[in-house]
């Protein structure tokens, strides 16, 4: 019986358990217009990758704890000292110094505003979000960049005030653990597993 691939780290090495690929047989592709002559073959492939979040791991971990972490360049020698990044950026884009990590949950709760948005009726394979997907790009006071995320309740509009919500119950440990709702949304309106 197959088992999903599982990984943990010990002594800074990956330890793996289970199946990281699943076999599905090839099948021929034939031409119905020309006596079913052979044209090609399918190549099924189902494989699990092992991916490191590296220095961003703390950001993804914090989402499951209901916190939004940002970063800031505090290098006194940087021409652009004070640049604040959300998305969380490990190193300053200007001086390449290591940024300071800070908790910006409160800032997000008080200043998050829709910069732009879109409503997506289609999705690519492996999408796990319900359609239509409502993308929101979010500005925060004092933050130099504009985060891309998704709205879970209501319909977006430019300038709308938002609140962050977090998948704190059974987090996926992905960016999907962070979502947004219009200011004024009640706790009972949040999707399953999400909290303010």
């Amino acid at each position: 019986m197959s088992m999903f691939g599982q990984v943990y780290v010990k002594d800074n090495k990956y330890r793996i358990k289970g199946d990281f690929h699943h076999l599905t047989p090839n099948v021929p592709i034939r031409n119905a217009d020309e006596g079913w002559k052979l044209m090609g073959v399918t190549n099924p492939r189902d494989m699990t990758y092992i991916h490191s979040y590296g220095g961003e791991a703390q950001f993804f971990e914090a989402l499951g704890e209901g916190k939004l972490l940002g970063t800031r360049c505090d290098n006194p020698d940087c021409e652009f000292k004070g640049t604040v990044y959300q998305p969380f950026r490990i190193h300053c884009a200007d001086c390449l110094g290591k940024n300071t990590v800070f908790d910006m949950t409160k800032l997000a709760k008080t200043t998050a505003t829709v910069h732009t948005f879109m409503v997506c009726e289609r999705a690519g394979a492996f999408n796990t979000l319900d359609k239509p997907i409502k993308f929101v790009n979010i500005e925060f006071e004092g933050v130099d960049t504009i985060l891309m995320s998704y709205l879970s309740v209501g319909d977006p509009e430019i300038g709308m005030k938002l609140l962050p919500i977090f998948q704190t119950k059974n987090p996926t440990c992905t960016i999907l653990d962070l979502s947004w709702v219009p200011a004024g949304t009640k706790a009972e309106e949040l999707p399953e597993g999400f909290t303010f």
Binding site: N31, T116, A123, G124, T128, N137, L147, M148
Partner: protein
């Protein structure tokens, strides 16, 4: 804040003149089950040889190094596909390299080939691009394309690249388009134009006679973008032969056209639009420092540059390219364009980035009729026709080949061979396509200079390829 140093703003200079001698392309389609990629590449190279009355073997004997562009190993399911194609073209053991810059791959590939010639390393190079996008169905293809976004931060959001453009479209639509129905119609007009021009192009994947209403009624993909606002997902190959002057003259001695001068410039901007930081607008030679002072007043919210409404990489690619070649005003100095119309909205955004219209006024390029082969408002030739090939919306987007196809299309006008290449009955039959009864010669009369813009997802890489008739240069020693 992005700030340039003087070193970063050096105007590029080629160490010797570089020429595009010939080019070729395969048929483009959503799927080409009866041909392997190498067959498509051989079709393109054979066509290139034929246009200068040489056999493929004769032309190959001049090639010194080869530059191969294909965007996605995972689309073709073949790592190091460049080595496969190089072998099948019989070019071993020449030096070769693969180039990948997403949607701009077809522009970056000649960028490398041009630099190899300009530096003196090679006298004759092959720039060949292709994409095999029919090895997966469309939904899986959308997933693979979305892998070109940031895999941790953006790809999981729907795995649909159109969405990452649509947020820019929404902002542009509301700020600069003022959410007007008339602006929506202008976007639709672009799709009508490009599908319509594709009808005259036997290579094209999606020729269609459609109306503005058809576009506006087409299914929503990512609002405000609809299916007919979006580019194609194609299979095909295209190539260009790029040489120094001596080789260019020798190769064209039996050809009906002379070689064209070629320059390629390139720029980049963050793959993750979320990381865009504000900066001053880098000005083009036809703009003034005061020009954008009241941009935020005229278009409230429009003063954040590049924000989500401009493509900084496109702006910087032409910032370098225009200065390199002496272009002051593209409307006056160029005769035609091939733009990377990944979406109707990004086409409009690009008009502004490349200085065809000032920021905020891109729609006027369409509404004035200047972008047409024949201006529908005046009945006269369009001032600066664009995407006569049909572009990515009507002709194709076989990603690694796209920028080369655009360059070849511009060259075909400067060579005054557009009608011969696109009107040939034999070619229509060979591609099992019906030449329309109302087929029209779209040659831009007297074309001497043109430009192709190649653009990768959300503007992460952009190249500007400028072609000029060697007797009609704008700048000495360019």
């Amino acid at each position: 804040m992005i700030k340039f140093s003087k070193h970063q703003l050096k105007v590029p200079k080629l160490m010797r003149p570089v020429y595009m001698v010939t080019g070729g392309q395969s048929k483009f389609d959503r799927a080409i089950p009866d041909k392997r990629t190498e067959e498509l590449c051989i079709d393109a190279l054979t066509m290139a040889a034929g246009l200068i009355n040489m056999s493929p073997a004769e032309l190959k004997s001049y090639i010194h190094t080869a530059y191969y562009g294909h965007f996605a190993d995972h689309f073709g399911d073949q790592l190091l596909g460049e080595a496969v194609i190089h072998d099948r073209l019989g070019l071993d053991p020449l030096g070769t390299i693969g180039i990948k810059t997403g949607g701009a791959t077809g522009g970056s590939t000649p960028w490398e080939a041009v630099k190899a010639v300009a530096s003196g390393y090679s006298d004759c190079t092959l720039a060949m691009g292709w994409e095999r996008m029919d090895e997966v169905p469309t939904d899986e293809g959308n997933f693979l394309i979305s892998c070109a976004a940031d895999k941790d931060w953006e790809s999981p959001l729907g795995h649909i690249y159109t969405g990452y453009y649509a947020v820019m479209a929404q902002r542009y639509w509301q700020i600069f388009g003022k959410a007007e129905d008339s602006f929506r119609e202008t976007l639709a007009e672009i799709s009508v134009k490009h599908h319509g021009y594709a009808r005259m192009n036997p290579f094209a994947h999606s020729p269609k006679k459609i109306t503005v209403a058809d576009v506006i009624k087409s299914p929503v993909v990512a609002y405000p973008l609809r299916a007919l606002d979006c580019c194609l997902m194609s299979v095909g190959a295209a190539c260009a032969i790029i040489c120094d002057e001596k080789t260019a003259i020798e190769l064209t001695k039996n050809s009906s056209h002379k070689p064209v001068r070629i320059w390629v410039s390139a720029a980049s901007h963050t793959l993750r639009p979320a990381d865009r930081r504000d900066m001053d607008i880098p000005l083009l030679p036809n703009e003034t420092p005061d020009q954008y002072k009241d941009l935020g007043k005229r278009f409230p919210g429009g003063d954040r540059y590049p924000g989500f409404t401009g493509f900084l990489a496109a702006r910087m690619a032409v910032w370098y390219g225009y200065r390199m070649t002496g272009v002051i005003d593209p409307n006056e100095d160029l005769d035609l364009l091939e733009l990377h119309d990944a979406f109707t909205i990004s086409d409009v955004q690009t008009y502004e980035d490349i200085g065809v219209r000032p920021y905020g006024e891109g729609r006027d390029y369409v509404e004035s009729g200047d972008c047409y082969h024949m201006n529908p408002k005046t009945g006269e030739p369009g001032k600066l026709p664009s995407n006569i090939s049909g572009g990515l919306i009507g002709c194709m987007h076989a990603v690694g080949a796209t920028g080369i196809m655009q360059t070849f299309e511009v060259a075909s006008h400067i060579w005054n061979r557009w009608a011969e290449i696109h009107g040939d009955e034999k070619r229509w039959k060979e591609f099992a396509r019906e030449k329309p009864a109302d087929w029209t010669d779209l040659q831009v009369k007297g074309a001497k200079r043109g430009m192709a813009i190649s653009h990768a997802g959300v503007g992460s890489h952009v190249t500007a390829t400028i072609l000029m008739d060697p007797d009609n240069l704008l700048k000495e020693n360019a």
